[in-house]
């Protein structure tokens, strides 16, 4: 019995001894870990505040060195200081690393000591009390309740996550595409055709989809003129419209400006002068008077607007006039001044950039302005604008240039086909209808090109050719207006001339097809409305009251015309 008691006492003493040792180790390591933690935090803060690459002392010495670059003593001083700063920085880092390992070791020892101590403290129940089995049943009742609440909580959480957080996506409509709704974030074809997003309207082919517009007006007397507003600076570009906002641009030797005008009131919503564009040339390029610095018509993708100027400056603003991006494409080598207008395709801004230095098709990201592709084209300089058509098989970007009319995949820039049929300085843009492309240039020809397996010229016409105004194709006819005042109508399948009319003034503007009628404005600002038919039938002759060279924009029941000084809104 005695022996057993002694044995138990021995075990007890030994256990107590080990417990105390563990306790002391735990205390010591806890204190050390605490001190180390404080030191490490201080070290971390110090390291964060020290940046050797931007040391103030070094910066001051560097400034001195710029004044006296040959001072070798100063150079050595900078080097020594730089080395010192870097050494200090890396020493701090080493301290943090080493400290981490030390801290890990201390925590490990502390943990082991505590673990040992806890192993000596068994978990016995209070045996003086009875078993708590009754409570188990109570607890089960409670469990039922809380599991039920938990389930409801999950449902509620799922509801919040599932229903409330998806509103943004639903609003945009990626997952539930509906009829006529864009599924890709950029404007759908329907939206594009509902608006007037660029040069010669939707797709750039001169077709207006809003046909309920006035056929008669008179600028001088104010008949059917809803409003007019003076545009402060010059520009030959045409107005573009999205919703209730009209956009146009102006530029002269000193400034480049983008405007946004309210379509209902005719008031400026904003005007943005474009300064500080990276790469913008200090010396403006030489341009001719009838081209100017703002000949390219702007374009919009329904969210942002884009403008290009003769300087090669290109800018993107949002609908509120905030600059999204701006850059310089390189000053165009162009003896008249750059005039090719912009067009968008999905998230790409496409630019026909044919210069004296060579032809290029550029695609910039509409979002960032980053170059997506820069497709070289073996053509001469041109002033025509691209048109974007769907041939039934694919989307094609068709460009008129010398000597080739070329088609590109708008997504990649890859050339799809080319037809050699042009020469001279190309300004008229292509026309398109029903699988046929029509291109013209003075002293060259008017060519009808049929698209099929390969593109081929199926007819040509060589009289009364246009040098600036673009042709217009309806489903059956082709209309061509020339700068010396003639308008020709041809059968667009055969190229046979149906009629020719001569007018007082020449045409720089291009004809637009509005339902059954063609609207065509001459250089004096007189717009002729005639039937798009095999016989010439003039409907009206409408004076603007000032010279104009732009393309009218047709939206809802109104026409918007930019004269040389004012922008007019025509509506009954």
């Amino acid at each position: 019995m005695m022996e057993k008691q002694n044995k138990e006492l021995h075990v007890k003493n030994r256990t107590e001894l080990w417990y105390n040792i563990a306790k002391n180790i735990a205390i010591v390591t806890a204190v050390l870990a605490g001190i180390l933690s404080v030191l490490m935090i201080a070290n971390f803060i110090q390291t964060k505040s020290v940046d050797p690459l931007n040391s103030q002392a070094i910066s001051q010495l560097m400034t001195k060195l710029q004044e006296n670059p040959e001072d070798t003593v100063l150079i050595e001083q900078i080097r020594a200081l730089d080395l010192l700063a870097r050494k200090a920085y890396f020493t701090h880092q080493w301290q943090i690393r080493t400290g981490s390992y030390l801290l890990f070791t201390f925590v490990l020892i502390l943990l082991l000591a505590l673990k040992y101590m806890s192993s000596l403290a068994p978990r016995f129940p209070d045996l003086t009390k009875g078993p708590e089995t009754e409570k188990t049943w109570e607890s089960r009742l409670l469990s039922r309740k809380y599991i039920l609440y938990g389930g409801l909580g999950l449902v509620l959480l799922a509801f919040v996550l599932g229903v409330l957080s998806q509103t943004e996506l639903k609003k945009i409509g990626i997952f539930q595409p509906q009829k006529n709704q864009a599924t890709s974030g950029y404007a759908s074809l329907k939206e594009i055709r509902d608006n007037w997003p660029g040069f010669r309207g939707p797709e750039g082919i001169g077709w207006a989809y809003h046909t309920d517009v006035p056929k008669e007006w008179d600028g001088p007397s104010g008949k059917n003129i809803r409003w007019k507003i003076e545009i402060p600076y010059p520009g030959f570009n045409s107005p573009i419209i999205w919703g209730k906002k009209i956009f146009l641009s102006s530029a002269d030797r000193r400034r480049q400006v983008m405007y946004c005008i309210d379509a209902d009131s005719g008031e400026f919503l904003w005007q943005r002068e474009l300064n500080d564009i990276p790469g913008s040339p200090e010396r403006r390029p030489q341009v001719t008077e009838d081209t100017g610095f703002a000949a390219p018509t702007m374009t919009t993708d329904g969210t942002r607007v884009f403008a290009l100027f003769a300087t090669g400056d290109i800018a993107c603003l949002d609908f509120d006039g905030n600059r999204v991006w701006a850059k310089n494409l390189g000053v165009p080598e162009n003896h008249y001044g750059h005039s090719s207008s912009l067009i968008t395709y999905q998230d790409l801004l496409l630019i026909q950039y044919d210069q004296n230095t060579g032809g290029r098709l550029l695609a910039l990201s509409t979002l960032s302005g980053d170059m997506v592709y820069d497709q070289p084209r073996d053509v001469e300089i041109s002033w025509a604008s691209p048109v974007l058509v769907n041939t039934g098989k694919r989307d094609e970007l068709i460009l008129n240039s010398n000597p080739f009319v070329m088609s590109h995949d708008p997504r990649t820039g890859q050339e799809l086909w080319r037809v050699r049929c042009m020469l001279g300085e190309i300004a008229p843009s292509p026309a398109y209808a029903d699988g046929m492309v029509y291109v013209v240039n003075d002293y060259a020809r008017l060519a009808g090109i049929k698209l099929g397996e390969s593109a081929e010229m199926v007819w040509e016409y060589i009289d009364d050719l246009s040098e600036v105004s673009s042709p217009l194709a309806s489903n059956d006819y082709l209309f061509m207006s020339a700068s010396y005042g003639t308008v020709t109508c041809l059968d667009n399948k055969t190229g046979e001339r149906l009629w020719l009319e001569e007018f007082e003034e020449g045409f720089y503007s291009s004809p637009i097809l509005v339902g059954e009628f063609v609207y065509l404005m001459d250089m004096s600002g007189v717009t002729y409305v005639f039937k798009a038919d095999k016989e010439f039938q003039l409907i009206s002759r409408n004076e603007l009251g000032e010279k104009a060279m732009s393309i009218p924009a047709f939206m809802h029941d109104r026409i918007y015309i930019r004269g040389t000084k004012n922008l007019y809104c025509i509506g009954e």
Binding site: F90, S118, G130, R144, I147, L169, T366, L367
Partner: protein, 448 residues
């Protein structure tokens, strides 16, 4: 003597691990030298292993599982289980940097099941299946001594408190939700969230995202008083192990003999996995329970369907975690002018020239998968909720103190509390056992 040898073996293995680490460093290309003295940071994810070493991992896993089972069932030694656990922590945790692990392997298997083009490595299949097979026969010995995630938490258990039963039952729903989500995300290719949100892998790799380090530290801090919180209330693999363990025929028991209901083991389990004998229990009113149970049975299909419907409504929210959908969303928002700056991902995508419609079509297809998966996930959670509620109505008479097969981790903590264990170990004679005054029992007598 045998024990001493075993201990030496484990210590030697643990010490050799760092040597293995450096012997495994493989570089396909020489590292560039930086004149500036720049030191390349270490990778946070382990490099792929050669096939030989994959087999070595499998061998180690089999050996560890076998030893854990042997220690728990045959030797009934908590100390050996603890030592093996330390080895597993060092090998599978710090040396193998927590990869491959059985918990994460759930996702590989799910991904492989739904993506036939994915060739799942043999080692991953075995890491997934072997612990389940061992559990099916012998209970969760994997959790006791092999799983590094369990080991790191077990190492910090200092003063565990008893979590109230209602709270424990409520929290035990989360592993099912986590498992469902992990399978859904893996099957749809959205990602391996178990690995992504592993709170301990940062410690194993000595580096992780700051938030994950904070989460891991919080989990370990919590683990000092709530034993193994991740294993009990989050581990998705634990759900499968729980199911297997319930079916196991040779599960560890508290007593090696018979239970004399001395109650000494009552508080010994920090995981609350001991079922108390309840012969003295006063039954509740049965009629109410039967009625409620009948209602529950009638409502079960409705609840499952309802949860399924709610799950399906999560399709858009959940699918956003898929990289393709997330990219599509970013592109969409940028196109709509709702993002002024492009992300690296959208820049890279746009540079490929891939048509946007193609991207959106892919995103829509993935969202459809999430819609279907949401139905299954919701239905699964609804079903588990109902089964948990039903189990609370079922009265089974518990004649003796025993482990709950599903939740017991076979850690062996309870063994030493049983007087019959002391007799088995020769620490106490059968006569002494008879004379034992339960109230004077001291743990010192029972230490194995």
């Amino acid at each position: 003597m045998k024990l001493k040898k075993l201990k030496i073996f484990f210590v030697a293995l643990a010490l050799l691990c760092p040597v293995f680490v450096y012997s495994q460093v493989q570089e396909r290309f020489p590292k560039p030298d930086f004149e500036s003295g720049y030191v390349r940071p270490d990778l946070l994810t382990p490099a792929p292993r050669s096939v030989v070493w994959e087999y070595m991992d499998i061998l180690v896993l089999v050996a560890a599982l076998s030893l854990a089972t042997y220690f728990a069932h045959k030797l009934r030694s908590r100390r050996n289980i603890f030592l093996l656990m330390v080895f597993s922590l060092v090998y599978f945790g710090f040396y193998r940097k927590g990869c491959v692990c059985s918990v994460g392997a759930v996702q590989n298997v799910s991904f492989a099941l739904f993506n036939l083009a994915y060739v799942i490595p043999l080692s991953v299949i075995l890491f997934f299946a072997l612990p389940l097979i061992f559990t099916l026969f012998y209970g969760r010995t994997f959790c006791a001594a092999v799983c590094p995630l369990g080991a790191i938490q077990d190492a910090v258990v200092l003063k565990p408190i008893s979590v109230p039963e209602w709270l424990a039952r409520l929290l035990s729903m989360f592993p099912y939700v986590y498992l469902g989500l992990a399978v859904l995300f893996a099957a749809t290719g959205a990602g391996f969230i178990i690995c992504q949100y592993d709170p301990f892998v940062g410690f194993f790799r000595f580096g992780a995202d700051f938030n994950m380090v904070i989460l891991g530290m919080s989990m370990l801090l919590l683990g000092t008083i709530v034993a193994r919180p991740y294993c009990r209330y989050l581990c998705p693999y634990g759900v499968l192990l729980n199911w297997m363990s319930r079916l196991s025929r040779r599960h560890v028991r508290i007593t090696p003999d018979e239970c004399n209901k001395c109650r000494l083991c009552e508080e010994s389990c920090p995981f609350g996995a001991i079922k108390k004998a309840d012969e003295e229990t006063q039954p509740m009113k049965k009629e109410t329970d039967v009625k409620q149970l009948a209602v529950l049975f009638i409502l079960l299909p409705v609840i499952v369907f309802g949860f399924g419907w709610v799950g399906s409504r999560l399709d858009i929210s959940l699918s956003r975690l898929h990289p393709t959908v997330s990219l599509a969303e970013e592109v969409l928002l940028e196109n709509a002018g709702k993002r002024t700056e492009m992300t690296d991902a959208t820049k890279a995508f746009r540079a490929t020239g891939k048509p946007l419609e193609e991207l959106f079509a892919e995103a829509r297809a993935i969202q459809t998968q999430f819609h279907k998966g949401g139905w299954i996930l919701g239905g699964f959670i609804g079903l588990i909720l109902c089964l948990k509620l039903i189990s609370l109505f079922i009265r089974r008479r518990q004649l003796e103190y025993d482990v709950d097969k599903g939740t017991c981790l076979s850690c062996g903590r309870c063994f030493a509390y049983c007087p019959y264990e002391q007799v088995r170990l020769g620490q106490m004679t059968p006569e002494e056992l008879k004379e034992l005054d339960r109230r004077d029992v001291s743990i010192k007598q029972f230490r194995a």
